[in-house]
């Protein structure tokens, strides 16, 4: 497979995952806002901005709708949902021949729906977000479209090298996003739990779980009895839940293995080592151990390792130097 094609598939997938994640955080927080005093709002929105990696140009300025608008519709801002969808579609267009027609149709209609001219009208956008009767209907529709795209991808595209690069993009993005989300919540939930206003714990816990689509799955395992330790354990170490870090990294590793088999590439030691070490750490850690240590440091290590894996993938499959390639 051409390196450029692998690159485009990888980013198409990452951007869509990112769009879905941002959309969900907004949806969850716009919803929580309705149940909370305005005094807590400041803090919660700042935490959301941190969970998104403090993107430039999207600082909290005491106006939830302005922030939501920036994060959703501002195409001058590269991290906005719209920018992500446009970038995903552009990547798909460059490899139109490599993806199934169904995938293209699903992604293209999402793109056409969100880039309608009226989307550029602030009033319209605000109405979609704060909306008449059904706040977040727009956000819901974006999330649904991304889910559909993933479903269509899995059932209409050959599960060969290209599909595996799509998995790699999805799971590396998801792992990083979940790690950043936990890091942003760490202060309130694990370090200074006493700072949560009395009676609001449940909302906070639920907000975190819902930010990772994990509320229902958590309840199936631990019942609706929400505790910070169990939440951390679930989002970090659960073996079966698709947004947990462990699940994401295991999926990433198996996609990388498949790519290595298909491409017959040698010299994969570095990438195998990086991914395997992260996988082992999540597989064999216990939540007590992690909580006894430096949780933020642990999460930051994961983020750094994800970045290293990304670079190793590039070095190995996409942006390698001609000299190494000729020597290998």
């Amino acid at each position: 497979m051409l390196s450029r094609v692998a690159d485009s598939l990888y980013w198409m997938s990452r951007y869509l995952e990112r769009a879905e994640h941002t959309t969900r955080l907004l949806d969850v927080n716009l919803n929580l806002m309705l149940d909370e005093s305005s005094s807590g709002a400041d803090h919660r929105w700042q935490r959301m901005v941190a969970a998104l990696g403090r993107p430039a140009g999207a600082a909290w300025e005491d106006d939830p709708y302005k922030l939501s608008h920036t994060l959703t519709f501002d195409t001058a801002n590269r991290i906005s949902v719209l920018s992500c969808i446009i970038a995903a579609r552009e990547n798909a267009r460059h490899v139109r021949e490599q993806i199934s027609t169904e995938m293209w149709h699903r992604l293209n209609s999402l793109y056409l729906a969100v880039t309608r001219p009226e989307m550029h009208s602030d009033m319209h956008a605000e109405a979609l977000l704060s909306g008449g009767q059904e706040p977040g209907e727009f956000l819901q529709s974006v999330m649904e479209a991304v889910h559909q795209f993933q479903g269509v991808t899995d059932s209409t595209m050959s599960h060969g090298e290209g599909w595996h690069f799509i998995q790699v993009g999805r799971y590396i993005e998801r792992a990083s996003a979940t790690a950043m989300l936990l890091e942003a919540y760490h202060h309130d939930l694990w370090k200074h739990p006493e700072r949560i206003p009395e009676g609001n714990e449940y909302l906070e816990y639920m907000g975190l779980l819902r930010s990772a689509t994990a509320f229902e799955a958590y309840c199936k395992v631990y019942t609706a009895d929400l505790t910070p330790e169990r939440i951390l354990e679930f989002l970090l170490l659960d073996e079966n839940f698709p947004h947990s870090l462990r699940f994401s990294i295991e999926s990433l590793v198996s996609a990388l293995d498949a790519i290595q088999r298909e491409s017959g590439k040698s010299r994969t030691e570095n990438l195998t080592r990086l991914a395997g070490r992260l996988q082992a750490s999540l597989r064999y850690s216990s939540v007590e151990e992690i909580l006894r240590g430096d949780v933020v440091g642990y999460l930051q290590d994961i983020l750094r390792e994800c970045r290293d894996i990304h670079c190793a993938i590039y070095e190995l499959y996409i942006d390698y130097s001609i000299q190494t390639a000729l020597a290998g």
């Binding site: 497979m1 051409l2 390196s3 450029r4 692998a6 267009r93 460059h94 139109r96 021949e97 027609t101 090298e161 790519i259 491409s263 017959g264 590439k265 499959y317 996409i318 390698y320 001609i322 390639a325 000729l326 290998g328």
Partner: protein
């Protein structure tokens, strides 16, 4: 153009079918149909209106779903458009086709010998058949190609030559496209759609197949591989998604099962071209390039090009990679050189040209220029280096201001312009609602040249869908038709 008012046609479907002095593909005269159109007319008139509509819609949907689009430049939104087409096929008899095939084979053979000659000994120039300045002043002449040996001496692996029919029904050559001719994917998809929409009619006609085109193209490319590369890696090089013919590039690559690459996918090292894959560098032996000379290697040609591959030309020089078509073939489709093609055929093959040229006046010649300037309202004037219907004046349909503008341009740079008398080329029946109306058509057959010359029977019939228009280019509002060559 005198229009013959016709109420001769009693059939309701032909109420608007007016014959004029242009050759009509369907009617020899108001009283007589060309026999090979009889079945088509019967079929068309026997189908109820709703049935025709249904088939038209089915075809529309088929084109839409396949995403058969081309890109219109210069607009920000809505740049991808469906290629317009007409549901009625154009029918060419076996006899007519035999002449076309013979003529094109002869022409392409001679033009290839001409390219070989001007980049080596230059006999034809020394003998004064073609003036040196016509060749050397051509922007498409590539000095870098002088003395360079190309595999099998084949410069033009793929040609799309535009033919038109004169008033007497004779096919003549309007122009040769020897650089990166496009449109063949429309020929192939038109056929596929037509077979689905009109299966019975198709069967009753004994149409010769064209599906083998992509296989022939692959074979042609393979036959041009550098020495010692028995299992050559062949790729199609595209400028990318923004190119107007991107759909076609992707289509052909997929049909041939070869990689579709962009310049940034290729690297050169030690004069060998590689493509960058996830399993490392893979050597590339043959490049079917759909990128113009100017843009293909920023080191050798335009430094500002980001479409090409640095060092490609050196690898090519070293004989490590084949380009189809070769560099510098554009000198032979220069519109000023066109006037000399009949002499070129006679010179190399000692034969009379089977297909004639359209009478052409070179503005570089003083006598011709005076004639063109004096008759601008009757002439078609073309800039020699342009294609796609750009840089053109259609005299009879022009305004005085446009003619003045062109006169100025011709005076300023006579070498750059040719004039041809306006020809009312042939018209074929097209479907408009439940009526038939004639529209001007040309024909672009695709000629492949590897081991031998092969031409699939047919080609792309382009239609000037606007009433009275003589411009068939897709970028200028033209459409297309399936072309049936009978066996």
């Amino acid at each position: 153009m005198g229009t013959l008012q016709t109420s001769q046609f009693k059939m309701p479907a032909l109420q608007n079918y007016l014959l004029d002095n242009a050759y009509d593909e369907m009617f020899a005269s108001p009283e007589a149909l060309h026999p090979h159109y009889q079945l088509l007319l019967n079929h068309f008139t026997s189908l109820p209106h709703t049935e025709l509509q249904r088939r038209k819609q089915a075809a529309d949907l088929s084109f839409l779903n396949q995403g058969i689009t081309f890109t219109v430049y210069g607009r920000e939104e809505g740049t991808e458009r469906i290629f317009p087409y007409d549901l009625l096929p154009r029918v060419i008899t076996a006899q007519e086709w035999a002449t076309v095939e013979r003529g094109l084979t002869q022409r392409i053979t001679a033009l290839n010998l001409f390219l070989r000659d001007i980049y080596h000994e230059g006999r034809i120039l020394a003998d004064g058949i073609v003036p040196r300045e016509v060749v050397y002043s051509c922007k498409q002449f590539r000095r870098q190609m002088v003395g360079l040996q190309v595999p099998r001496n084949i410069y033009i692996a793929v040609t799309g030559t535009d033919l038109i029919r004169l008033e007497n029904g004779e096919f003549v050559v309007l122009e040769d496209n020897l650089r990166v001719p496009s449109g063949v994917s429309y020929m192939l998809t038109n056929r596929r759609v037509m077979k689905r929409i009109f299966p019975q009619l198709f069967r009753s006609y004994n149409v010769r197949p064209i599906e083998q085109y992509t296989q022939l193209l692959l074979g042609t490319l393979r036959s041009l591989a550098p020495e010692g590369r028995p299992e050559p890696n062949i790729v199609l090089l595209t400028p990318g998604v923004f190119n107007s013919a991107y759909y076609e590039h992707a289509y052909l690559a997929r049909q041939m099962g070869i990689e579709l690459v962009e310049g940034r996918d290729l690297v050169t090292h030690d004069n060998v071209v590689y493509m960058r894959t996830t399993s490392g560098l893979r050597r590339v032996d043959v490049i079917y390039r759909r990128v113009d000379d100017d843009f293909i290697d920023p080191l050798a040609f335009r430094g500002d090009s980001i479409l090409g591959v640095s060092g490609l030309f050196n690898a090519y020089r070293a004989g490590n990679v084949t380009l189809a078509n070769a560099f510098g073939t554009g000198v032979a489709d220069d519109k000023a050189l066109y006037a000399y093609v009949p002499d070129i055929i006679k010179y190399y093959l000692s034969e009379e040209p089977v297909l004639k040229n359209v009478e052409t006046f070179l503005c570089a010649r003083e006598k011709d220029r005076k004639h063109v300037l004096a008759n601008l309202d009757k002439f078609v004037v073309k800039a020699v280096g342009e294609s796609g219907g750009y840089g053109m004046l259609v005299g009879p349909q022009s305004t005085a201001a446009q003619r003045e503008e062109f006169a100025r341009r011709i005076e300023a740079d006579p070498r750059n312009y040719i004039g041809q008398p306006t020809i009312s080329f042939s018209r074929a029946p097209c479907m408009f609602d439940d009526q038939l109306e004639p529209r001007h058509v040309d024909l672009r057959p695709y000629v492949l040249y590897g081991d031998k010359v092969s031409i699939v029977p047919g080609g792309l019939t382009r239609v000037a869908l606007r009433k009275g228009s003589l411009v068939v280019n897709s970028s200028q509002g033209g459409g297309s038709k399936d072309t049936w060559v009978l066996s």
